[in-house]
């Protein structure tokens, strides 16, 4: 716990000093979403119809954008090497990395979601579904992105490899999350989709940190 707190505080200090790390993905998200209404033109009905898919695709691309830097700096500076050698703090470090990356890349998306709903002409019910699906889905995005970042750590041009590795894993999430928002726009019940998202999140939260741990050890050794 002490280790987790120390690693978490360290992450926040780094984020405060490297604002581009979390601001860029957020700007990317907003810009991609503003491009759609401009590209499609004045067809509010069409826009509201495809909005769930657009929002989720933009969200997962923006999380992916911030993923590559996750362990890179610590790998280059040798911090990771020392943590692997010390063994014990590594797990707390991985958990702190994932939590702080969720707070820095996904939490801002939640905050600007009302703006996005307005932009795409969604009603209040659909906005609520977006918030709920983002709340359950984005931690999953961050967990998988962390796994991709750990696996591609020692690859030279890891960015594209990371995308190729992780994007297919996002497919189930994308299907259920946009289905939830879709149902909400039609006024239907979407608790089943949310339950599936929650189940996927639980599974990932239990297993992915261990896989990240193993991947980091492999890359450092």
């Amino acid at each position: 716990m002490v280790m987790f707190k120390a690693a978490f505080v360290r992450e926040w200090r780094l984020l405060a000093r490297q604002k581009a790390d979390w601001l860029n993905p957020l700007m990317f998200f907003v810009i991609v979403l503003t491009l759609f209404p401009l590209g499609i033109g004045a067809k509010p009905n069409l826009l509201a119809e495809i909005a769930p898919g657009i929002i989720w695709i933009a969200a997962l691309l923006s999380v992916l954008l911030g993923a590559e830097r996750l362990f890179k700096e610590d790998f280059r500076q040798g911090t990771l090497e020392q943590l692997v050698a010390a063994d014990e703090p590594l797990f707390a470090y991985v958990l702190a990395k994932i939590t702080s990356s969720w707070c820095s890349t996904a939490l801002p998306l939640l905050f600007i979601s009302p703006l996005i709903a307005l932009l795409l002409g969604l009603n209040a019910a659909a906005w609520q579904a977006i918030v709920l699906s983002l709340l359950l889905g984005t931690p999953l995005l961050n967990l998988l992105a962390a796994l991709g970042a750990a696996l591609t750590l020692s690859a030279d041009k890891g960015g594209i490899l990371l995308a190729l590795l992780i994007l297919p894993l996002y497919i189930p999430l994308l299907i259920f999350a946009s289905a939830a928002v879709d149902n909400a726009t039609l006024g239907l019940d979407y608790s089943a989709q949310l339950a599936v998202l929650a189940a996927m999140l639980c599974l990932a939260a239990a297993l992915v940190p261990l896989a990240v741990l193993k991947a980091l050890r492999l890359n450092v050794g």
């Binding site: 360290r10 200090r13 500076q77 050698a85 010390a86 703090p89």
Partner: protein, 216 residues
């Protein structure tokens, strides 16, 4: 004789070999290190010093041979083993995060590596970094950054120190300071393995040198 060696030495390794890109860096290297001893690994650039250190620190697996900690093979160790707790490893990468200040780096290490909860200001002052505690480390010189990373040695409770080129970029006064710290650690029953191109023998009577021969 072998049993005797195992019981008295902290760290021992038998018949280590390491192959990198089809080149045999070294083979049949034996290492024994008892408490209070300093092992100086010397050799030309590219002779495999750093690779040997990483194997001894448990970060890499040897292609052949075995490393034993207090008689227990490292390859069979459990997570959170006694070995990792007794080890302070500082590689040729300093581990200093350049965006953070010396104080913030030290704070993180204190929690992560379970260092002594001593006053970090005092430690940094000992290392000649008084007044520089609150400056991001990227503003410091290479030698000063090295000093920040070596500050861990003033706080660690680990028995075995494995250091890759600790004297790099340090000035004479810092080298002297570090050597004093080494002496103190050895007197308290610790052990040190390091690589350096400095001569260590005069200062440390209890030191041994392992020469790795550069091979094609």
């Amino acid at each position: 004789m072998a049993v005797f060696l195992v019981t008295t030495s902290l760290l021992s390794a038998f018949a280590l070999s390491c192959v990198r890109q089809d080149r045999v860096l070294f083979d049949a290297v034996d290492v024994t290190l008892a408490a209070g001893e300093l092992l100086h690994i010397s050799g030309k650039n590219g002779a495999g010093k750093s690779s040997l250190l990483r194997i001894l620190a448990g970060l890499a697996m040897p292609d052949e041979g075995e490393v034993l900690w207090c008689g227990e093979p490292l390859s069979h160790r459990q997570p959170h083993s006694d070995f990792a707790q007794s080890l302070c490893f500082i590689g040729h990468l300093s581990g200093v995060q350049p965006q953070l200040t010396a104080l913030e780096n030290l704070e993180f290490w204190q929690a992560a590596f379970q260092l002594k909860q001593a006053d970090p200001y005092a430690v940094l002052a000992t290392l000649g970094l008084a007044g520089l505690e609150d400056i991001p480390c990227q503003m410091l010189s290479a030698g000063q950054q090295r000093r920040v990373s070596l500050a861990r040695l003033w706080l660690t409770q680990a028995k075995l120190w494995i250091l890759d080129e600790p004297f790099t970029a340090l000035d004479q006064s810092a080298i002297k300071l570090l050597q004093q710290q080494f002496k103190q650690h050895l007197e308290q029953g610790g052990a040190i393995i390091l690589t350096t191109h400095q001569a260590m023998e005069q200062q440390f009577p209890q030191s041994r040198t392992l020469e790795l021969v550069y091979r094609w």
